[in-house]
């Protein structure tokens, strides 16, 4: 651990973004800005029906096919699967296919217009098999489309003995909750460029979150040794989880085309292809059965949680895991049983999206908590207060909370800032006579940072710090800057640890030939887990400088530090320090029973939403939003606030606007004109407040923050809509026509 500091110079300050100037001036180079001589443009020919067997491929007329590079599964030098967890998803269909957007053929040509014409001219002769599109049909095994039972993964969490509580319970409340898919809609579409040949191996450049995931996948695809595969991240315009796994697919495709053609190949998805073919948030279905005492104490919770994984396993097992662990929330309950499963359907695989299963299960839980409160005749806040988890108590996985947690305090703060209590009364009075109905509601929740359970232990992430000849310190990490501020917070953490100027810290561009594997840029782990390694790698560098006599242990200036770096390099050559993840003591996880310390730390939050419902056109609009959370120490207030605002905005979209319309397992509204996300004009002021409670094992006390804000908006908004209209709604997205249906059924 770092030595205690009296005053923080960089942490807690809103220093400017490392790459901000380049982005604002247009100097930043995204993958589509990059062009190589002799480069070809690649395109992907996909299946057009949900499940079947390809009998024949028919190439259209009037296309100069001899000018094209055409790749099929037969051209794959190594394994035909995207290496991830279960390795079930092929790079290219060999014969059988399982969703409407599966890649079958790859085409490349130097004329982009001609590639598109050629792509459109190809038809398949197909034998159709009966598909499965819904969670219900998949669970009921209407058809077996994956493995023996359509189940990618299932979990059982068991605490106490829930079977014994039903008989003695005063009240039992049941409920059913549904959430829809959601598209990440990062600003920059997916894209990759590859140069691949037998002599040099494979190099890809592109938009991504996890360079080492791509690296791992390409090694298998080409059956090459590690050092023959190089993955370079280009400036990336957003990810939100959407660039966690699918970039491995596109990188492989570009590389296969390059391998065959002998020329550089660029594949850039247009928006329609990106939306239809790449991953989205898992739709979910949750059932709750809860036993409570008359005085509002939780006695037993039985939770059944199912997510739709789409056609291949991809990351569904881990999405399910996080959703499962968050399903019982920040409440103390002595008896809990959570059964969960991720099932297959014939839709493109669902994947990572900010929150990673937690927004789905938290939605169900928080709506259900409101329902229980109503049944008991308690206010939703009073019912929560009677059950909030406290330090020393255990979660559903029997993790003892060792940090001071004060959800009641966060709630007080959120209610005070939003005027919750006064507005509850005021709106009740106003709504009697006014045409527009106003309401206010909230959600309380937690979000674990870092990989689940033993995940971080197995990852063994590494971060390096090296001295440069200019006397700077360069951080070597595979964590990507995707707009969230990785470069900046690493700079702050390192400068704080070393006590040198922020501008002396450089952050190396993630390039697998140059940076170690610090794990993927996901799971709210970049700051808390990787940031901690940045801190210790930087301190290691300092130790060497001090140990070799170039630097005083303390009382040095930035200039002294730079001089020491230069002097060291001159005398001994390169100076690098690496730090590898070590699990803090006392973290124990039992993977078999899904029991123990699920996460190193949790962020805690209470969010309040205020809405207006217009019963003429059935519009629900969020008028105000207060987000209060405890995330350990805040490293950069502007970036942290931006994360919360962005997550809440995305949550508002998830709740009221973003409706993925499915038609035969394909997204039918894969355009920005018909997949509606909110604009700045639809988003209310989002008022963000941090309560700080430093976490002992985070860099400068920080915990994770990226996913947390995605969890709270949906239940808070539906709670507010219930307050406005008296109607309890248990599904999202709630677009105006479904609100119309709900209100018309309920009223009069």
């Amino acid at each position: 651990m770092s030595s205690p500091k009296t005053e923080r110079r960089f942490v807690g300050k809103s220093v400017p973004r490392k790459e901000g100037r380049d982005k604002v001036t247009g100097a930043a180079r995204y993958v589509d800005d990059i062009r190589f001589p002799e480069m070809l443009y690649g395109a992907t020919v996909r299946t057009t029906s949900p499940r079947g067997r390809i009998k024949e491929i028919i190439f259209g007329e009037n296309v100069p096919w001899d000018e094209f590079t055409i790749v099929t599964a037969k051209d794959i030098p190594g394994e035909n699967y995207v290496a991830l967890i279960l390795n079930d998803q092929p790079y290219l269909v060999e014969e059988f296919f399982n969703h409407t957007e599966e890649p079958v053929l790859l085409l490349a040509h130097e004329d982009k217009f001609l590639v598109e014409k050629a792509r459109r001219s190809i038809r398949f002769e197909i034998e159709e098999f009966s598909p499965v599109f819904t969670i219900e049909d998949s669970v009921n095994k209407r058809e077996i489309i994956w493995g023996e039972d359509n189940v990618f993964k299932s979990f059982l969490v068991d605490k106490g003995n829930v079977d014994e509580v039903w008989e003695s319970a005063d009240v039992i409340v049941e409920g059913e909750y549904l959430t829809g898919a959601q598209e990440q809609l990062y600003i920059e579409n997916n894209g990759m460029i590859a140069i691949a040949n037998h002599e040099d191996g494979v190099t890809v450049w592109g938009s991504m979150q996890c360079p080492y995931y791509v690296h791992k996948a390409l090694i298998k695809l080409f059956n090459l040794p590690e050092e023959k595969v190089r993955v370079v991240q280009t400036e990336t315009g957003g990810g939100f989880g959407g660039k966690e796994e699918y970039p491995s697919m596109i990188a492989g495709h570009a590389a296969l085309l390059s391998w065959k053609s002998g020329r550089p190949v660029k594949i850039i998805y247009d928006r329609a292809e990106d939306m239809a073919a790449t991953t989205k948030r898992h739709p979910s279905h949750t059932r709750h059965r809860t036993a409570v005492s008359r005085d509002g104490k939780l006695l037993g919770m039985e939770i059944d949680f199912t997510v739709d994984g789409g056609a291949y396993a991809t990351l569904s097992a881990v999405v399910l895991s996080r959703g499962t662990i968050h399903a019982a929330g920040p409440y103390l309950c002595p008896n809990v049983r959570i059964r969960s499963r991720a099932v297959a359907t014939n839709a493109p695989p669902h994947g990572a999206f900010r929150g990673f299963g937690a927004p789905q299960s938290i939605f169900g839980l928080e709506r259900h908590m409101d329902k229980i409160a109503k049944t008991l005749g308690l206010s939703p806040e009073e019912f929560r207060r009677r059950n909030f988890i406290q330090e020393g108590q255990t979660t559903a996985t029997q993790q003892v909370i060792h940090e001071k947690v004060d959800l009641s305090g966060l709630m007080d703060r959120a209610f005070e800032l939003s005027g919750y209590n006064e507005k509850r009364e005021k709106f009740a009075e106003q709504n009697k006579s006014s045409r527009l109905k106003k309401g206010i509601g909230f959600a309380s929740f937690m979000h674990g940072a870092g990989f689940t359970g033993s995940g971080e232990k197995y990852l063994e992430s590494v971060v390096g710090a090296e001295a440069t000849e200019q006397g700077n310190v360069r951080i070597l990490a595979a964590s990507t800057e995707i707009g969230q501020g990785t470069n900046t917070i690493f700079g702050q953490i390192a400068s704080e640890a070393l006590g040198i100027d922020y501008n002396l810290i450089e952050v190396a561009k993630p390039d697998t030939s140059n940076v170690p594997n610090s794990g993927p840029t996901v799971a709210s782990r970049t700051c808390m887990i990787v940031g901690k390694l940045v801190e210790s790698a930087a301190l290691g560098l300092k130790q060497t400088l001090v140990g070799s006599g170039f630097l005083k242990d303390s009382g040095y200036t930035s200039e002294d530090f730079s001089n020491a770096c230069r002097a060291y390099i001159e005398k001994h050559g390169a100076l690098k320090s690496f730090s590898k993840y070590q699990q803090p003591e006392g973290i124990n996880w039992d993977d078999e029973h899904y029991r123990g310390d699920a996460y190193g730390a949790y962020a805690w939050a209470v969010y309040v939403a205020e809405v207006t419902v217009d019963p003429t056109v059935y519009e629900a609009h969020v008028d105000d939003f207060v987000a209060v959370q405890e995330v350990g120490r805040v490293i950069n207030p502007v970036l942290a606030t931006g994360q919360i605002e962005g997550g809440v905005a995305q949550g508002i979209g998830y709740t009221l606007y973003e409706n993925v319309v499915w038609r035969d397992g394909r997204m039918a509204n894969n355009q920005m004109t018909n997949y509606i996300i909110p604009t700045s004009a639809d988003i209310p002021p989002i008022r963000v407040f941090f309560a700080e409670n430093p976490y002992a094992y985070g860099p400068a006390g920080a915990k994770g923050i990226g996913e947390l804000p995605m969890d709270g908006a949906a239940p808070a908004i539906l709670s507010a809509i219930e307050n406005a209209t008296g109607v309890s709604i248990n599904h999202i997205p709630l677009v105006p026509e479904s609100l119309m249906e709900e209100l018309e059924t309920e009223t009069i």
Binding site: R120, T616, V617, Y657, A668, T673, N674, A681, D682, M740
Partner: protein, 331 residues
Amino acid sequence: MKNFAYARAQDADTAVQLITQNQNAKFLSGGTNLVDLMRENIEQPDHLIDVTGLPLAQVEELPGGGVSIGALVRNSHLAANQIIRERYPVLSQAILMGASAQIRNMATTGGNLMQRTRCYYFYDTDARCNKREPGTGCDALEGFNRIHAILGASDDCIATHPSDMCVALAALDATVHVTGTGVERTIPIVEFHRLPEDTPQIDTNLQPDELITSVELPALPFARNSMYRKVRDRASYAFALVSVAAALEVEDGTIKNVRLALGGVAHKPWRATEAEKVLTGAKADEEIFKRAAAEELKAARGYKHNSFKIELAERTIVSVLKTLASEGGAR
């Protein structure tokens, strides 16, 4: 995008000449719609005739109280024009509820009239679309047809016209002035756009060699009491699910004059003549507004995802008329 040849015309005669001389040519004005469609390979012209240099960018008052709007007047200029804002507020409001500031700064009056549909299937080159490729079929009929037509559609096409400006023009009895090879003519706005029937590839009654030179608004004193209401999926960057443009004059509680047009419901801006018949001369109250709205929507037909628009259109008509009746009555 397919390669194309580019030419620039300095006067209307040259523009018309160039478009007749070249095969598969199109006029280029603000480019906010055409260039997008070219990028998506939906429009594939071989020649573009740039008309932005033509002297057609003026808004002029006409003797008798009307106004002439040059075809190249930018949408943002038109919306901000003082005469328009005072005498025809519905037009200014409609323009400002469309697109974004950046697009309105580029888009022109003539170009707005020539906007093509935003039907998702028209935009998706992997889908069947009779408008894009005549004879291939219509995937919207059985598809995700949330924004599609509820009035005047055909079995070949259920697309809607996307413009807000044109809905206001339809309510205001505008006429479109065009020039062709040696001929000049005027077309009433309600006859400018057409219903799809079995030739949905043709959006308007403009001939291929004709160029829009201006749009004329008649003197319509009661249009000072006019408004535009647009119901859409979000507060900006969205086309209308339903929009209503209306002007209303009430005297002694009786409707003396009314103009009503709907957007987002048909292949063309929909002048609500049936509703106008019910309203004219009747007592201005909620009951008659409801009856008029119901009368207009009687012929409406919903599809799988857009049936809600029938009720939505009725409710929006009533709400707009109520607002205008109370505001107009206050004068």
